[in-house]
Symmetry: C2
Subunit: 397 residues, 2 copies
């Protein structure tokens, strides 16, 4: 049999994926599994976006432009300008999800063997895109004690070497829910300018900033036009993960020109989803106000309930819809599997994401889990109750 690539064999499996068979087995035994593990919001997609697709007037479903339709990119530029990000349509390449924006960005700025620094815990698929590009992730651990705030710049300095080409942050963070403050962003900006690195910011949760805190985009800073690349997506903003529409935003024309060559090879982003995404930009502010109110109240309930559990430490999230909790256990992979295999209350159990997969440093975070609060409050309260009782019983084993 012909050999697979070494790269392919190295590709990391999703940290949640290995639990899926256990969840499926539980369902087959008649157990209802409450999913705290996935970032698929239950929030409704704006009707205006779905209606745009329902009302399509076309006879041929044609390719769009490689960089995305002009109309969509122009409206996107107007959207950004409302968020104090002053870019034009030509600074934007529409991609198939934030995922493709990350792939193209890595291909554009990193060669095989190059290094990208990422504060951990981080979105696990960054590992996948790095492996696919032959790139090494250099993690810098952030601490649950400080809610996963930016590690000291001195830690970054220690890691910067001749192969370092970029720093990647997720703001607000998945899985941390941490929202970087303006000072932290300014520190990063100074750092990348000093060392002539790219600063890539995954800002797909931009709107999800709570407690009257403001989101600070790296593109709102002066003087890093050449360094700053923003990754964006409609998935979470409009609860339309299945659209698969994202974008790269940068004022660096060379980055745009090179990323366009990767984009040309795949012809165009999906046309129908672009129609929905363009319409979604007309979503009234009230939609976001309601959604954010809902997430804040879910976050509050979740934090309150988790804090009642003895031995549990949590990082209070100020953004996105994730929360990392540290449990008084050794191995959250084992615990998550055990919940699915051996525990239920009134035929219901919970599925959590073990946090080990969000760290690149082996052995760190193995007592942590990520909870996505994409369920309504009653369900969340019930889920935390099951988690609490499960933990209690697991510790008695």
């Amino acid at each position: 049999m012909p050999q697979l690539s070494t790269k392919g064999l190295k590709m990391p499996a999703s940290p949640i994926r290995k639990l899926v068979p256990y969840a499926e087995a539980a369902k087959k035994r008649g157990i209802k599994v409450i999913h705290l593990n996935i970032g698929q919001p239950d929030i409704k997609t704006p009707k205006i976006a779905l209606d745009a697709v329902r009302n399509i007037d076309m006879e041929v479903l044609e390719y769009s432009r490689t960089e995305g339709s002009d109309a969509y990119r122009e409206k996107l530029a107007a959207y950004y300008s409302k968020h104090n990000i002053h870019v034009s349509a030509n600074d934007i390449i529409v991609t198939t999800g934030g995922s493709e924006a990350l792939s193209f960005t890595m291909g554009t700025i990193l060669d095989e063997g190059d290094e990208i620094i990422i504060p951990e815990p981080f979105y696990a698929n960054y590992n996948g895109f790095a492996t696919a590009n032959g790139v090494s992730v250099v993690p810098i651990v952030s601490s649950i004690e400080s809610n996963f705030s930016l590690p000291p710049i001195s830690e970054f300095e220690k890691c910067i070497g001749p192969k370092t080409k970029a720093i990647l942050i997720c703001n607000p963070g998945n899985p941390t829910g941490y929202l970087y403050n303006h000072d932290e962003i300014k520190q990063l900006v100074a750092l990348v300018k000093k060392h002539d690195l790219f600063l890539v910011a995954d800002e797909v949760y931009r709107e999800f900033a709570y407690d009257n805190k403001k989101h600070h985009s790296i593109l709102s800073e002066n003087g890093i036009e050449a360094n700053a690349i923003v990754i964006d997506s409609v998935s979470k903003r409009y609860s339309m993960c299945g659209a698969r529409i994202g974008c790269i935003v940068t004022k660096n024309k060379d980055v745009i020109q090179t990323a366009m060559k990767f984009a040309q090879a795949r012809l165009s982003p999906p046309t129908l989803a672009q129609i929905a995404s363009e319409a979604a930009l007309e979503t009234p502010q009230k939609y976001f106000d309601d959604v954010i109110k809902e997430y804040v109240s879910r976050r509050n309930v979740l934090v309150e309930e988790l804090e009642k559990i003895e031995g549990v430490k949590i990082a209070r999230p100020s953004g996105a819809f994730y929360c990392v909790a540290e449990l008084p256990i050794k191995d959250s992979d084992d615990f998550a599997q055990w919940l699915l295999e051996h525990f239920a209350i009134e035929n219901e159990t919970v599925m959590v994401a073990p946090a080990g997969g969000f760290y690149a440093t082996p052995g760190i975070g193995t007592n942590q889990i990520r909870i996505a609060y994409v369920l309504e409050k009653k369900q969340l309260i019930k889920a935390v109750h099951i988690l609490k009782e499960g933990l209690h019983q697991y510790l008695k084993k």
Copy 2:
């Protein structure tokens, strides 16, 4: 300014892309440009596919499964079985276009520095996916004299070395329109078995086989379950290029498992387009009968008109909707640009794809062009007339 990747700088630009500014300038001068250069069919998308999207009943546009929805993959398996390709839903990964299927396949089977053999001329974006994966394309020239039939197996044998991991064919071919016969497929099968290579077949034009010739899929052959990987797409089959839905089909479970890790990193293929693609599978046979009748009659007209031009040699296509013609010129890049810049009849000119970009060997095919016959006959006849008069005047320069 931070440095871009060497890989990014090496990424090939689309061979047509450099003509785009000249086409745009012509349009600004009031010249109508007839596009013979693109593979965007004018054929209507089956109404059943667009209606499925118009009638969506959903409140949240969710991720689909990473491998594509079960319903779609099961119906796809049934579709393949009608084409003498016996696979199950588990042998299929739905991708974002044939493009992503090619990317995932290359990542799965090829490491940086590995070689993939491709008969040339070939679909230019194979170069892009190869460069993005750090893979070397080893071309084997096929000849316009034989309509671009399979080069002798001895030529392949000469190129196979320790770094060779795969052979890639496009059947029927873009840009050649050549449909491999059963004997050619059997020769390739024997070759990859002998040398333990992967055989990747891009079969996106499967339905477009003319003159009562049959399409022979590599997956219909016995004994190469471990070697054969088919790349497929709905783009051309249902004239829905903008859907961006393709798939990988293989009986090799290790390939599926590894390709799935690349797929997991990007979460899922587009949901709306999958709904359209699933519905498209219900397209009645009459649609294809009519489409093929239309393409055959366009092909006949195109070939007839081109043959009238002195000094023009053509490869008669038996499939797809492309035709490569050799012109009595030295540099088809220059000619194509000249047509846009300096020639028009009654304010109309044509845009053709210079064929040099479809060859990996430098200097070959530079007197050839690719014509996509995706226009109705009247337009085609007019376009060939403009081409003929243009050529006449160009040669007098």
